[in-house]
């Protein structure tokens, strides 16, 4: 009895091991395994090298005094880079501008895109044609658009002031004035990317079964009631997503402010990403630059969380 008891578990172990071995052998024989490995292997290597590793190094760079000539000699400085960054007077300015910019873009973009996509979803002839024309600014290069508007808004020779003159209206300084530069830039951004959100929202609106609206009409609901009580809640997930998209894009604004105004006049349109860029590539302070980037990541995660929590569950079906 005793010998049997001792032998049995060993045999089981052996059996288990050979089971594993058989399973591995079986897997190795499968052509799917080799194809999957061929695809996922390089993918994971690329993600490791170009996303994961930079992320880790970014976290490390933000807490050391980075030595460009000899990175391994960098000394740990704790939150010193964050402190230096926050003490930089440009930080508060960039923070305020970025949040104002993201908020203003959102406040103008969401109602306009909802309005336009409602019109598009109701039009019976030429919907695709209208949509593809309204989408044209999305396809135009942002650098070209920035230069173009810079030219049109030239206070002396620009077409915009010439038009205002012709209409007998007072001239504007557009982006050359500290108080109007940011709102004007918001307007350009809305003009440029309205098409994106219109396309997404129109697709969402057309997905709502129209029988619902017919039923509501029979029940005597008017247009406004249908919009607030049916259309908006039924669009819930799409709206949440594009709100998040608008804020994430807004917080990362770089191309438009740097080409259109270079952050000026003064610091009126100086944004967070421009501060990161300036710290890294003009001042060669990699530590404070990555600290800024990490603060941006935290801000984005925070905004996303708050938005998801605040707007999804209560009014969406």
């Amino acid at each position: 009895m005793a010998t049997i008891q001792r032998v049995l578990p060993r045999q089981q172990n052996k059996e288990k091991r050979s089971d594993y071995r058989a399973a591995i052998k079986k897997t190795l024989r499968k052509p799917q395994f080799w194809f999957g490995l061929m695809v996922l292997g390089p993918t994971l290597i690329w993600y490791f090298l170009f996303l994961l590793l930079p992320m880790i190094r970014s976290a490390w760079m933000s807490v050391v005094a980075y030595q460009i000539m000899d990175a391994s000699a960098s000394q740990f400085v704790g939150l010193g880079n964050f402190q230096k960054l926050i003490e930089n007077p440009l930080f508060a300015i960039a923070m305020r501008n970025t949040l104002t910019w993201a908020g203003m873009t959102f406040l103008l973009m969401l109602p306009s895109s909802l309005f336009v996509s409602t019109a598009l979803s109701r039009v019976r002839v030429g919907r695709n044609l209208y949509q593809s024309i309204i989408f044209v600014p999305v396809v135009m290069s942002l650098v070209a658009i920035a230069l173009l508007f810079r030219m049109l808004m030239d206070p002396q020779t620009g077409q915009f002031n010439q038009i205002l003159d012709a209409l007998g209206l007072p001239e504007s300084k557009w982006i050359s004035d500290e108080s109007s530069a940011l709102p004007v830039m918001v307007a350009i951004q809305v003009w440029k990317s309205l098409g994106t959100y219109v396309v997404i929202l129109t697709a969402g609106l057309l997905n709502i079964p129209h029988e619902l609206f017919e039923a509501a009409t029979v029940d005597g609901a008017n247009d406004r009631q249908m919009f607030w009580r049916m259309t908006l809640p039924l669009l819930g997930h799409t709206l949440t997503m594009i709100t998040v998209m608008m804020f994430i894009d807004g917080v990362q604004a770089f191309t438009l402010p740097s080409v259109l105004t270079a952050g000026g006049p003064g610091t009126a349109t100086f944004m967070g990403n421009m501060l990161i860029y300036q710290e890294a590539f003009s001042n060669l302070r990699f530590g404070t630059a990555t600290a800024g980037a990490i603060l941006q990541l935290i801000l984005i995660l925070f905004i996303t969380r708050v938005l998801m929590k605040a707007i999804t569950p209560k009014w969406s079906y």
């Binding site: 993918t43 979803s121 039009v123 030429g126 396809v139 290069s141 396309v199 990403n273 990699f286 941006q296």
Partner: protein, 287 residues
């Protein structure tokens, strides 16, 4: 998602009211359409004006047509080379993204292996990552690889696309497994199944993804601005941005350079607008 075939939302009973409201919608949309394309058409014509005419005349069409602006930016400022650079970068990035996205999308969408969904969520979560976070370490790495001021330095960071993988996976999940199993029973190899069955079925999302990727790569600004320092290596947006300081208020150069940057994509858009719009509408699927 075919928008044209969808029916209108509200069926109006009274034809008179329909005509009236449809009429006002058309006026509104027409107005918006004009605002959307007017700057483009204005600058197309402006690029054929001389500097003097550009800043003094309010007329839409040039009085005297000139190709001088294009001649100067191509021959003196290297916009011809920049055009070729842009085409190289965008084409390679697009081809690579299509290949990697469809292969990875297929594996995640149609294969089953332990930890598949967890791994995919990890990869997907990198979409939330702002580019600024990886910017500096990536630059240090590109310097280490000796790829600064090389088109390769721009291309290498864009070989895979998380959004593309996500989009292709969503689509591949709708390909019936029976079809693939039938091919396996008939003795087809995995590569053959992928290239001969899966890819031909996926041409529509691939077309949408490719124009979407091409556009993104064409307009990319921040990363090429850092990597490409010398003029003969720069892509169009970077060289165009340089005109700002090179030609302070020489607006005829600006318009010609802008049009060199915008028109190639516009030509693509005229022929494939359906796919551009479908690609964007698909970003709505993320919800």
């Amino acid at each position: 998602m075919d928008i044209a075939s969808s029916r209108p939302l509200v069926k109006n009973v009274f034809p008179v009211r329909t005509v009236l409201s449809q009429g006002s919608i058309h006026i509104l949309l027409l107005f918006l359409a004009i605002i959307a394309v007017l700057p483009l058409f204005w600058s197309i014509f402006a690029s054929f004006k001389s500097y003097k005419e550009l800043v003094t005349s309010r007329d839409f069409f040039p009085h005297v047509w000139t190709l001088g602006n294009y001649d100067e930016i191509i021959n003196k400022n290297g916009f011809g080379i920049a055009l070729i650079n842009s085409i190289i970068v965008s084409s390679v990035v697009t081809l690579s993204t299509i290949a990697t996205s469809s292969a990875v999308g297929y594996v995640f969408g149609r294969y089953s292996f332990p930890g598949r969904d967890k791994l995919f969520m990890v990869l997907l979560s990198t979409m939330m990552l702002p580019f600024a976070v990886v910017l500096v370490p990536l630059y240090v790495m590109i310097v280490g690889l000796g790829l600064t001021n090389e088109l390769g330095g721009v291309i290498i960071v864009a070989l895979w696309s998380t959004f593309g993988m996500f989009m292709m996976r969503q689509f591949m999940q709708s390909i019936p497994s029976e079809l693939l199993d039938a091919a396996r029973i008939d003795g087809a190899g995995e590569l053959r199944i992928f290239a001969g069955i899966v890819l031909p079925l996926s041409t529509a999302p691939m077309a949408a993804l490719s124009v979407f990727t091409f556009l993104g790569s064409w307009d990319n600004f921040l990363w090429p601005l850092i990597v490409l320092s010398s003029q003969e290596k720069q892509t169009l947006p970077i060289l165009l941005n340089g005109l700002k300081s090179l030609y302070w208020t020489r607006y005829e150069m600006w318009t010609a350079g802008s049009m060199m940057t915008v028109i190639p994509v516009m030509i693509l858009y005229v022929f494939a607008s359906k796919y551009f719009i479908r690609g964007v509408a698909m970003t709505g699927m993320k919800a």
